[in-house]
Symmetry: C2
Amino acid sequence: MPEPTAPETPAPETPAPGRAPFGARLGAAMDEHGPLCVGVDPHPGLLDAWGLPRSAEGLRRFTLTVLEAAAGHAAALKPQVALYEPYGAAGFAVLEELLAEARSAGLLTVADAKRGDIGSTMEAYAAAWLGEGSPLAADAVTLSPYLGFESLRPALDLAARTGRGTFVLALTSNPEGRSVQHAGGRESVAGSVCAAAAAENARLLAAAAEPAARGGLGSCGLVVGATVGNALTELGIDLTAVRGPLLAPGYGAQGARAEELPAVFGAAAGQVLAASSRAILRRGPDVAALREAVRRSSGELSAALG
Amino acid sequence: MPEPTAPETPAPETPAPGRAPFGARLGAAMDEHGPLCVGVDPHPGLLDAWGLPRSAEGLRRFTLTVLEAAAGHAAALKPQVALYEPYGAAGFAVLEELLAEARSAGLLTVADAKRGDIGSTMEAYAAAWLGEGSPLAADAVTLSPYLGFESLRPALDLAARTGRGTFVLALTSNPEGRSVQHAGGRESVAGSVCAAAAAENARLLAAAAEPAARGGLGSCGLVVGATVGNALTELGIDLTAVRGPLLAPGYGAQGARAEELPAVFGAAAGQVLAASSRAILRRGPDVAALREAVRRSSGELSAALG
């Protein structure tokens, strides 16, 4: 195992060799393949449906099958870390293998971990998911801002140094999320998270080495549900100002159809990276059938959002 | 590896054999040893100071040394999961070993993981940290409610079924936390989290099988910083109504002294489980010196809060 980046002794401000900022890399992948992020969600029920055991080996076969189907046909892959945790260390070993294989296959990864803490503890989460040489390093990680957007600073800064990215939870469509995210009304919690991400991307894009990057997406993304309805208007949130990618769960299966997304995201539709898992995964375990579902979703999303 | 509890097929509502509710078990441990929770925080700088390598083996030796020093002298042990994650699967293997050894030693564990998500994803986090037979099962886990307190329901319910507990982030003292936790003013986010925990404990305590448990602590705890100052008064929050344990980071080292805690927590002082890590851990690696620091902190806290 490579020695992990020590959280208390961050590397100097040197970009990782040969790695463009995450926002630029994601933008290029979305242009090439369409704005689909394939969720790797090994729910126990899906393992059953695929004829796989509920074990680390079943988890591994599921995971590598989804990777094989998605590589070259989707912008990114999003493993749901929660579904690996019940298997303990053995589950994390599968996650390590997925992240390494995806890197080899040139497929961007978003670790859906929703981590969040303060100070040197947050530094450790950042080192784990965004640090050079970490066995769990992904291209981006999802973060949760209950301790304040600025508490996530160690991850934002490490991402900038290593050409990686973040997706901070902003606004979701689950009804119980309103009690936190809508609090404050027109000065809502969700609105303040969006404003902070906008400021972060403005800073990152202004400092970008390549002129082309300055017109593209910043590396600080947000998680905004595809089925939030008119909540964005209600809270007075302008997502175009964020200038970062918008990871949108809730597309496909029982969620939103591709053609409904422009109504939700308006002028920010071009920033949307739509996440889909079940609608695609239920087509497995046949790789060809999975790949066909990935291609169809990527195409639908390109047509609707492109 | 034992097959993990399948998140989609929860066990029926039968308490785990021979395990009293977490609140009752924690209350008894606090009565016996004093209200100290020893943080197991293997910061890279502490590994250096202890003469240990920044590797999984260094992590393991650090972890088992803290366990040896704390067993029989503190109410609980709180491994900081973030500090294990940079080592990937190898770090989680150390965490599995710690949790199993603590169980054998009769020492309660609080996995400080600050997890939070929705639906079947939250079920998976619950299964990982609170599920019977899971390799990472602890006595309690910390949770983050950005998606709403009720989004944590799968963990609250599984904890009730397995005699385990939760500590939900409510109010912290880091300045950037105000943007979320204080939002809404007198109808603040932090206040709504406290109210929801109060309702949860009222339900749990009313349903308790043993009359003695009804007068004790519920199993839904909160995380409330030891250095929040007058924020509780400012937001109109009454922690006695919560009737659950209050995990209070910020005691010791650069934080609050034991004798300052009653001013912060008032009539809820008896519910406080004070977390201390650096003030104790900097006394290592000598086990006797660590144990002496644990005993002294436990004694100070008993005197101040008991």
